[in-house]
Symmetry: C2
Subunit: 148 residues, 2 copies
């Protein structure tokens, strides 16, 4: 073990927590009447087109009952809809409504402008290598989860 691993860990813990807090606060400004978690839930569902509660619980690393609560709120807001699978009647598919798609599209535009104003302060090489390492970390965390 290198002597400065300890220091690197300290720096990582501090900076990751701080950036997350500040980023969440910044993003929140663009999401009237919706929360950060709701935005990311819609984002994920939109990418997958259709998905289940269990899948969301795994991806978001929370219990299924937390997903039930969150999706209830999104259904109330008419952002998503539930559709029971006829082959396996235990399964309920979740998907965005037209209203959900519209809201997400508008929001993505705002968020992109926001992130773009930050990201363009770095060189493309720096950002590319930063995101690559970040993605590598995501894979390691994913594998770690699967082995548990």
């Amino acid at each position: 073990m290198h002597s400065n691993v300890h220091e690197l860990i300290e720096r990582y813990l501090s900076v990751s927590f701080l950036v997350n807090k500040k980023a969440v606060a910044l993003v929140k400004c663009e999401l009237d009447e919706m929360t950060n978690d709701q935005y990311y839930l819609l984002r994920y569902m939109s990418k997958r087109n259709v998905c289940t509660s269990s899948e969301l619980a795994a991806v978001f690393a929370v219990n299924k009952s937390a997903i039930t609560a969150m999706t209830n709120r999104l259904v109330e807001k008419e952002m998503i809809q539930r559709l029971r699978d006829d082959n396996d009647r235990r399964v309920i598919y979740l998907s965005l409504t037209e209203k959900g798609k519209t809201w997400l599209a508008e929001t993505e535009t705002k968020i992109h402008h926001l992130v773009e104003s930050l990201i363009t302060q770095f060189s493309e090489e720096e950002i590319e290598s930063f995101i690559q390492t970040y993605e590598k970390l995501a894979n390691i965390l994913q594998k770690l989860e699967e082995t548990k």
Copy 2:
């Protein structure tokens, strides 16, 4: 604007959210009876030695009333203590109790082992440059906040 900035932003939004969720879930395993936010609050207070509610609210990017609620819970758990400033009696200083210091020290050891097992899967250069970019981002977010 480069043609792939859009794609970089998408990748960043996805990966940052995912890593954060997974990391929080991992860290939580090491924190019996305490929450992630409580851990980071103690961590920050420990580094600063002594601090105020207003400072915490600014750093954690939340309202002061959120800090009151959180510090109440930490006082109940006897992890921190409040001490009124005699010069300016509006101000209340927060600091860790002995119990808080002990708990934090033990927890830091566990978290360090956890993060170390992840971080050592990268080369030192890769981690160093990753954290540097991360810190640069933190500074940009900090400045952005100050100008608002």
